[in-house]
């Protein structure tokens, strides 16, 4: 039976149990309410508590307020629940049926399926700004192909994209600037890419692993974010993702973000 909540925030409290039931953080309650309205299957009661705590931890770490989009694919709710953008309280779109696995996430098929976040930084960006942005993912299983394609790519048709061919993080802005990182992308790994005015810093599981000089103007400011897809052939990935996000720069919060996510993931 779903918990019944009321629309009030509880600050740093995990949740409170009083005579009226469980009260979640107002932002998590909004996600549950939206899912109920849409007819989606909610996570189990135990997982609702874990997800609420994840959101509270993100708030405590100063992360939540910097996010523009955030989706937790790893859930025991149904696939539609896994596609809810917690930040904007709207849906991502599953194009051509990426495979959903309970408590793990979505997996592309390598030929045609992907997830559209419906988040475009130029129209939906609040915290994501040129020279001050972050995006990333948790990858459960990396693409099986030798030339591993995109996990969660910032794409601009015919021009810019961020991806990881050959299992390395790759950044390009048009045809005039390209850079590889030394970060090796792998399974069971949370990757964060944070841009400052001149650099792109890359984190694996909360630890800084590489810095790429990208220059002041080379940012995918009007990028649309798509999982399992990039705009340069081979386009589609069969990697498996448990979480994706984008927002403002999170260099100072990289470790806290990873810890909050890892606490949730290891509790499933």
């Amino acid at each position: 039976m779903p918990f019944v909540g009321i629309g009030v925030g509880v600050g740093r409290q995990r949740f409170s149990q009083g005579g009226g039931g469980v009260v979640f953080d107002a932002d998590y309650q909004a996600v549950l309410d939206y899912a109920t309205t849409q007819g989606y299957t909610l996570p189990s009661s135990g997982q609702q508590t874990l997800q609420n705590q994840l959101l509270v931890d993100l708030k405590d770490g100063g992360i939540w307020s910097k996010l523009d989009t955030f989706a937790v694919f790893a859930t025991d709710g149904d696939s539609d629940f896994g596609l809810i953008d917690w930040k904007r309280v709207t849906d991502y779109t599953a194009i051509n049926s990426p495979t959903f696995t309970t408590n793990v996430g979505f997996q592309g098929n390598g030929t045609s399926s992907y997830i559209d976040s419906n988040y475009n930084a130029s129209t939906s960006g609040v915290n994501y700004l040129t020279g001050n942005y972050s995006f990333g993912w948790y990858m459960d299983t990396i693409d099986a192909s030798p030339s591993a394609e995109a996990a969660f790519a910032a794409t601009i048709p015919g021009s810019n994209w961020v991806r990881y061919p050959l299992k390395r993080f790759y950044y390009t802005s048009g045809v005039s600037f390209q850079a590889y990182s030394n970060l090796t992308i792998g399974s069971n790994q949370m990757v964060m890419a944070n841009a400052s005015a001149t650099n792109l810093t890359l984190y694996a599981n909360g630890s800084l692993t590489d810095t790429i000089s990208i220059g002041a103007t080379k940012n995918p400011a009007n990028a649309n974010f798509l999982a399992f897809y990039q705009n340069l052939a081979p386009n589609y990935s069969d990697s498996q993702l448990g979480m994706v996000y984008a927002g403002g720069n999170l260099d100072s919060q990289a470790s806290d973000f990873y810890n909050a996510w890892n606490t949730y993931l290891t509790s499933l």
């Binding site: 849409q38 007819g39 989606y40 696939s79 539609d80 596609l83 849906d91 991502y92 779109t93 599953a94 194009i95 051509n96 049926s97 990426p98 495979t99 098929n109 390598g110 030929t111 045609s112 399926s113 030798p146 030339s147 061919p165 050959l166 390209q178 590889y180 340069l232 052939a233 081979p234 386009n235 589609y236």
Partner: protein, 70 residues
């Protein structure tokens, strides 16, 4: 790998179908043919068009040539 390939009439009837958080959008393979993976046949959000999807031609997917490392 076997994928589903529509003719023009089937493409026009099915492309852009939406239900809940799912959408069907045919994509091109390496031979410039419209295709979609067979996973759509098992998607409960596409139950309404399952019979139409099942009528699509099964063809062998043509991969894109691998991109050379820069």
């Amino acid at each position: 790998m076997i994928v589903l390939h529509p003719n023009t009439k089937q493409y026009n009837a099915l492309n852009g179908y939406k239900y809940k958080s799912s959408e069907l959008l045919f994509v091109k393979d390496g031979s410039d043919r419209w295709i979609v993976g067979t996973q759509v046949l098992n998607d409960p959000n596409f139950a309404e068009i399952h019979d139409q999807l099942n009528e699509l031609e099964r063809i062998e997917y043509t991969p894109f040539p691998p991109e050379p490392e820069i």
